[in-house]
């Protein structure tokens, strides 16, 4: 790919990522904010594609969009009636948080563009070889972290079920079907 195409793709993907991200943190209607996460996550997947991390494009779409975003939208819809869109969605920290995050990002940018990054001419492996090498690393040298990650997932699964099941019947009559009434 020539440079102009890569630059145009990068700029448009960065815009597709950052503009909806700003809407996510500023929108008054939380369901709109949840749906605005979709272009943001797709933009990050596109940036992964530009970075030639082929497997993670699919993983980003499957896990972030297919699982986490759907989970967030379900949670928003299950709790929506208490959050009136007309009511303010912010606490009093807006000014200070904006200042801190903005100045932090600007300082990061300044440092990034003045650091003497090494120039590496190597290119990553192709999609097939790269995925094969990642799989070999996961069952070879990184088998222990891989198993630890599966244990974390199992613990999170059981923990989420136990927490979401609840112990007391609901104040609002919203007990799930599986919960046992005392």
């Amino acid at each position: 790919m020539n440079n102009a195409v890569v630059t145009a793709a990068f700029v448009s993907l960065a815009a597709v990522t950052l503009v909806p991200a700003l809407y996510v943190v500023n929108a008054r209607n939380l369901v709109h904010a949840g749906f605005a996460m979709l272009p943001c996550l797709i933009g990050v997947a596109g940036l992964y594609a530009l970075l030639e991390a082929h497997l993670f494009v699919a993983v980003q779409v499957l896990i972030y969009i297919g699982a986490i975003l759907v989970l967030i939208l379900f949670a928003l819809m299950l709790t929506r009636d208490v959050m009136d869109p007309q009511e303010g969605q912010r606490n009093g920290l807006g000014l200070w948080a904006g200042l801190t995050c903005g100045v932090g990002a600007l300082v990061c940018g300044h440092i990034l563009f003045h650091h003497p990054w090494p120039r590496i001419a190597e290119h990553p492996l192709g999609a097939h070889d790269q995925t094969a090498a990642l799989g070999a690393a996961l069952i070879g040298r990184y088998a222990l972290p891989f198993e630890a990650a599966s244990l974390v997932l199992l613990a999170a699964l059981i923990g989420a079920i136990v927490v979401a099941k609840g112990s007391r019947p609901s104040r609002r009559g919203a007990v799930s079907q599986g919960a046992v009434e005392p």
């Binding site: 990522t17 991200a21 996510v24 943190v25 996460m37 967030i72 995050c101």
Partner: protein
């Protein structure tokens, strides 16, 4: 020519936006959405450094894979906690949930 600093700048901006959302929102689920944006920024950072600094090694990809696992676990447990808070208190407004305040 797009290089490493450009990707890291996008990542820093995404992290800043996510941190702003996590700090200023009153709804617990919105706070979790801000945290998800921050986790995405972290993964983008890892993959940008992998592509431009160590393109032939697989370590950064293993990091990203495990980061994704932790993000999924965080989302599941976090939303379960939020739903339980909603059931107990009838609200997910973090300003009104102050039982543990000393």
């Amino acid at each position: 020519m797009i290089g490493l600093p450009h990707y890291l700048l996008v990542s820093a901006a995404l992290f800043g936006i996510g941190a702003y959302g996590a700090l200023t929102r009153r709804n617990a689920i919105s706070v979790l959405m801000g945290v998800e944006l921050m986790l995405n920024a972290g993964n983008l950072n890892f993959l940008a450094c992998w592509r431009f600094l160590t393109p032939t090694s697989m370590e950064p990809q293993v990091f990203v894979l495990i980061g994704l696992t932790v993000a999924a676990a965080e989302a599941a447990v976090g939303l379960a906690v939020v739903l339980n808070i909603y059931r107990e208190h009838g609200t997910v407004n973090l300003d009104r949930i102050a039982e543990l305040r000393g």
